[in-house]
Symmetry: D2
Subunit: 143 residues, 4 copies
């Protein structure tokens, strides 16, 4: 099992501070591994909504999550606030692969990092659809 | 069923801004009723940790939640940020009742409000214990 | 603060076994107070779906949660399975108040109990709507 | 991005049925991608507790999650019950890699599949520790 090295902040393009919640800690007193994916979902979708590239209720196409992955390096705990870094690692005809990393505030090396792949499909037929122009435009600064 | 009126911001004493998360929205596209309690837990415990009144791992007493309640007035949705208002409504020998309310940013009237009752017990014996001095001191500004 | 007594199983009319999940336990090693409301939501909505009284995607009316409450008596912990008891405590023109209780398997006295109030509104106008006939019929055995 | 094929039930060794919850569905009406990891955590830890290989509160070593991954093939939705399949894909000196898959009931092909890597460390020093004998014994049937 090859082990990745923690990424640095300079490898990411957009940022979102996320406050931890009481329930993020599990019985061992640290943020549970599942929670990082809730942060990934939040960082990606908030970026898209705030850049006009996601209309949750009425879009003609929707992004289905087809793969997610995360590597964990160092623990985090409530009540700290974390910084989510976001970048685009690949854009295909109907898919986007995001790279995400979680940093403790004041740290330059990631506490965890991973990826998240969206495939866009027609909201009605669920067949793969070309990425909307508003989306590719919103993603340009993340390359 | 008597219906409470939404509280105003002036009725609360301490504040915490909480960012919504993608998963907070349920299938109807609004923040699910359960999530408000995750915010209550977060606001109360973060206040206590940050005011030196809660040592999560090593305290001699622990606060058990014995009752919670929430009334919902108007919907909230990801990706908005909400303001949690906190106050103390009652302090007993071994219990504290907190009042909590959730406000949309820019709104003076609560979107939801409720309460949360902690009973303190000895961490080992689980018998009711007097509120620690550090706690009553931390709570004084919330009355 | 008057303290309710734990209800008995005989006070409830419908049942749903729910398996606890790892993340239900919080840092103190017991099921967090928030999780009970996720179980309430699950027990009410699963009952309605399975009795033909809730069409999540296409219903003409939707049930908004306007109040929830829970009293906690004794701790629960992953990996135990719990039994959710459900009853109807009040039916109005456009509202239903459910009573819910959580029992450890093999225990006759509730570990926690509370209520959950739905107000039905027109899905388009969000104005209060009469309870659909399919709903009142589904609720009859819960009185 | 090479796309894995859905696994079959015959590729897994231990099983756990998990009931979906109302909040598992996200705004698109299907189980959110994050929830699958909550199920992975539940299936692995419940297996370990129930086979005497995990003492959550008092163990001398603890398993840290260092990597998780999931590929999603077909949607699931509340209120269905799902079957979690579990197997061991690799055992090292201080690590275990589990393979997990989620099946809709009545389906032989996975709706989603992934992996989950535990590294065991000394509970006090957090340095890598050999897998306890009770653990390797509990894992034998999962190879």
């Amino acid at each position: 099992m090859p082990k990745p090295l923690p990424a640095l902040r300079s490898a990411y393009r957009a940022w979102r501070a996320i406050g931890t919640r009481w329930a993020d800690n599990d019985t061992y007193g640290h943020v549970n591994n599942v929670v990082y994916y809730a942060w990934f979902d939040t960082a990606v979708n908030a970026y898209l909504v705030e850049h006009g590239a996601l209309d949750i209720r009425g879009g003609a196409v929707i992004g289905l999550v087809v793969e997610t992955q995360c590597s964990y390096f160092s623990p985090l705990a409530f009540p700290q606030t974390v910084d989510l870094g976001l970048r685009v690692e690949h854009i295909g005809h109907s898919s986007v692969r995001y790279g995400l990393a979680v940093f403790a505030q004041g740290q330059d090396s990631a506490a965890a990092q991973g990826h998240f792949v969206h495939v866009y499909v027609d909201a009605a037929t669920r067949k793969p659809a070309a990425l909307p122009a508003a989306l590719t435009q919103a993603l340009a600064p993340l390359r």
